[in-house]
Symmetry: C2
Subunit: 243 residues, 2 copies
């Protein structure tokens, strides 16, 4: 069954959960791993991210879309194009709880953005129990996340829940990903901070092959590493990154 949760809080048990936070956490996570960061550590807020600060780690995070005070980077995907350390620590208000909720309910957790759309589709091909988890924004469903969930649902085989069909209606309502992102409430804050370029960047489809995969969730920190598209890794969750 292909299913959609419109909010991280609505996660249900599934074999594979795919977390979506298009603006901007899942785009940033995807690009960071594609750019060469070995691991992305997701923290639920700025303080938790700051506490993870250490040599070999770059701190990234936003406060109302702007770079958090004292942090190396904001939350713009493009800022991760040149890795400065093995690990990126990313504070994300909506993405982190969605990933942690998914980790508690699913056997495998992946992260999808438009940037890795084709790679995620390839990896999910044949999967029979997929829950597409929209992170939303502050407890509210967001158009850009539901749009991508609908695009993914439409690309997969198998029966769909009502929620998956609803997401597909949203996907067909916009002529392009860029239109969906521009129409979202999330775009307002980005424009206010002069970050319109993030909308254009995050709307690019299938420009990288990396599929971020949860390797460990511990004490409200989620650790993501790169899984190859279409080739599931043999190592189970919870072990790989500690090696």
């Amino acid at each position: 069954m292909i299913d959609v949760a419109f909010l991280g809080a609505d996660v249900r048990p599934a074999a594979t959960a795919v977390v979506i936070d298009v603006l901007r956490a899942s785009s940033t996570i995807t690009l960071a791993l594609a750019s060469g960061y070995e691991r992305v550590l997701i923290a639920g807020d700025i303080d938790a991210a700051r506490a993870l600060g250490a040599p070999g780690r770059v701190l990234a995070g936003e406060v109302n879309c702007a770079r958090a005070p004292g942090f190396d980077l904001g939350n713009s995907p493009e800022e991760t194009l040149e890795p400065r350390a093995p690990e990126l620590v990313l504070a994300t208000t909506n993405g982190a709880p969605a990933i942690l909720a998914a980790a508690a309910a699913a056997d495998e957790v992946l992260v999808a953005s438009l940037l890795n759309f084709a790679a995620v589709c390839e990896r999910l091909a044949g999967a029979e129990d997929v829950l597409l988890v929209c992170a939303g924004t502050d407890g509210r469903a967001s158009i850009e996340d539901v749009y991508l969930a609908g695009r993914l649902s439409a690309a997969l085989d198998g029966p769909r829940t009502d929620a998956a069909q609803i997401a597909e209606f949203v996907a067909t309502a916009y002529p392009s990903a860029r239109d969906a992102l521009e129409a979202s409430a999330g775009a307002v804050g980005l424009r206010r901070e002069g970050l319109e370029s993030d909308l254009a960047f995050c709307a690019q489809e299938s420009i990288v092959e990396v599929v971020p995969r949860l390797s460990e969730a511990r004490e409200r920190i989620a650790v993501l590493t790169a899984a190859e598209s279409g080739r599931p890794t043999a190592v189970g969750p919870g072990l790989q990154h500690e090696s």
Copy 2:
């Protein structure tokens, strides 16, 4: 702001919450009050409804769409057309928690179905802070509820959240209410029990003027009475039905 919660669990604070459980609780509540029942007492499960049994009360409820053992009625709206007592006790798995969640978050709670669509629109005219609450089915969003939320959102003035826009896409995706109801997962169980006629009945638009309104929520029981469309009652919630 016009907003939509896709599940009862996602309710947020609002001046007015409108609970939607098209198949079939909100249709049954609406028709019962329109038919002459003075009050509808909503219980979260069969046992809670049975405990409310008393002279002057009719028990209605379903187990997997079929009438609950020992109950006077099932959950088909048409069964309430001829009132047999002043009060109807209705057990509903998804509607009750949605109504109780709305009661905890909103100043006023109304109940909408297609049966009273125009009356609800009339009553909401000019309202500036409306949350349309889809009850869903067992923690999953349902097409028929989101469809009606989208119809209501489209009929109201004012800015819309992303969630309200998503619901409007669902509303425009079906040529008629009947098509939306037939496409829903909820229709499967009704057909299995030979209750296809409920789909046709619940798809009728604006056949009654009654808008059910929460008058009291106590110990997981919600009490609904009829509010006139477009004419808000002067009596506040929590008092009226005890007089």
